[in-house]
Amino acid sequence: MIQKLKYFLSDTSNNLWQHRMRNLFSITIICLSFLTIGIFLSISNNLQHLARQMSRNMAVVLFLDPGISDTAVESLKKDLTRSPHVSEVRFNSARQANEDFQEKFPDLRKIVENLGENPFPPSLQVSLHQKAQSSEAALNFIRSFSGRSGVDDIQYNREWAERMQSFSRLAQAVGFFLGGILVLASFFIISNIVKLNVFARKDEIEILRLTGATNTFIRTPFLLEGVILGVLGGILSLMLLFLLIRIFPLYLGASMGAFRDFIRFRSLSFSQCLSLILAGGFIGFLGSLSSLARFLKT
């Protein structure tokens, strides 16, 4: 068994080296296919992360009348705090809102100053418990405040989070669709490259068959070849993806402004990386198997 394994490994590595240009071509194609899937998976990961973060920090903001009395604010605060959905209520005065804005956007300070008055209303920032963030009851509770006196407007970012999640799903679907087509292409390319390798070694296969080699013995080096090509393509695509993830934020950095800290590019998870590599190996295996089936009938 060990002798056979040694034979397979040396035979496979010899073949890979002998037809290196051809094999490099197939690795490149597999790499590009998986890179496409990887890029879209990464985009989807980022959008999902963003959506999660938005819902985690889902703050409901109740914008109040500028002239609201302190007692009315206190009463609102008390009513909100009493709800089991609410974890924290924080009052933000108009002055505080103005200062916060000027601190975050110093370039826009002059515009606010030119207005001559503070355009920011006072507000109550309500944080919800994690469980309540997606519950309809919590939402209805918040909505019930819209008619209360002193409350001007209510804003919550749940819809944004949901939209982000559907974008993430869309990115994933597009990635799998485009990647799927490319994976299919790489399947045919591997299949044809292995077929060429089989043709190149037709005589050897013939001799092996007539000297009593089993089909498994003849097939194994070719299957190994396909698997190695697939796995190498997968690994290369992940390396390129990591490189892209490192370079892309640097490229975008200058134009992202205030969002720079908000968007952090995330690479694929360990299980996603492993799945991509295994999928590469599997595609290689299937590609080889399909091209060998016709050759080794007897």
């Binding site: 068994m1 001799i207 007539l210 000297t211 009593g212 089993t214």
Partner: protein
């Protein structure tokens, strides 16, 4: 023991390549199958190692009907045979050693044992000093001897050779035939297809004459 019983073979073209061929080969026999070109010698040999199927008939080798052996088990039969072709069928990108070792690698024999057996097989054909050469650097006669070494390295029960001296001059042909004789003396059954009457006259023990696919006659010389 090899028994061929009423073998008929038709290819896609009209006419029979073999018609009603019946003969028996006992263990340790040395047979020549002869006849003019197109008489069905190669077809008969190919049927014997089941590279092709006969259209009709039965072949029993060691009490087993080889036509009933499923494709995935045919390797068991071929491991008991050594086959020598007229065109040698050597792998020119591999050294002499690797060309012969391939038969043993199939069986999972250890590297050390492979070296020993390949060396012995090459010594038998007097080529042990060319073990690490490439076949392209050898003469025709030497290449054919490598093919014979490959056929005998696994000590097969049956040696089948298709025109093994077809490309060689008389002197080399006699040398090669002496080798087959030696192999036969060690116990292997040898079946050789040839149209070289001189060789048959000199080495022939049992002869099957084919003409247009039919057995013309069988002869046993003492």
């Amino acid at each position: 023991m090899i028994e061929l019983y009423r073998i008929w073979k038709q290819y896609q073209k009209p006419g029979w390549a073999l018609s009603d061929v019946t003969f028996k080969v006992a263990q340790g026999d040395f047979w020549f199958i002869t006849g003019p070109s197109g008489s069905g010698k190669t077809t008969l040999l190919k049927i014997l190692f089941r590279e092709i199927y006969p259209t009709q008939g039965q072949i029993i080798i060691n009490n087993r009907n080889i036509l009933r052996v499923p494709d995935h088990k045919i390797y068991q039969l071929r491991r008991k045979m050594g086959i020598v072709y007229q065109d040698f069928r050597l792998l020119f990108h591999k050294r002499v050693f690797d060309n012969i070792a391939i038969v043993l690698q199939v069986l999972g024999v250890s590297r050390k044992e492979i070296r020993r057996r390949v060396f012995n097989a090459l010594r038998l054909v007097n080529l042990h000093n060319k073990m690490w050469e490439y076949p392209a650097h050898l003469s025709y006669g030497e290449q054919q001897r490598v093919a014979i070494a490959r056929a005998v390295v696994n000590h097969p029960q049956i040696i089948l050779a298709d025109e093994p001296t077809g490309n060689l001059d008389t002197e080399l042909a006699f040398e090669i035939m002496s080798l087959f004789n030696d192999i036969n003396r060690k116990g292997s059954t040898v079946i050789i297809c040839t149209h070289d009457r001189e060789l048959i006259r000199h080495f022939g023990k049992r002869i099957l004459f084919l003409y247009k696919g039919k057995v013309l006659r069988k002869e046993s010389l003492s």
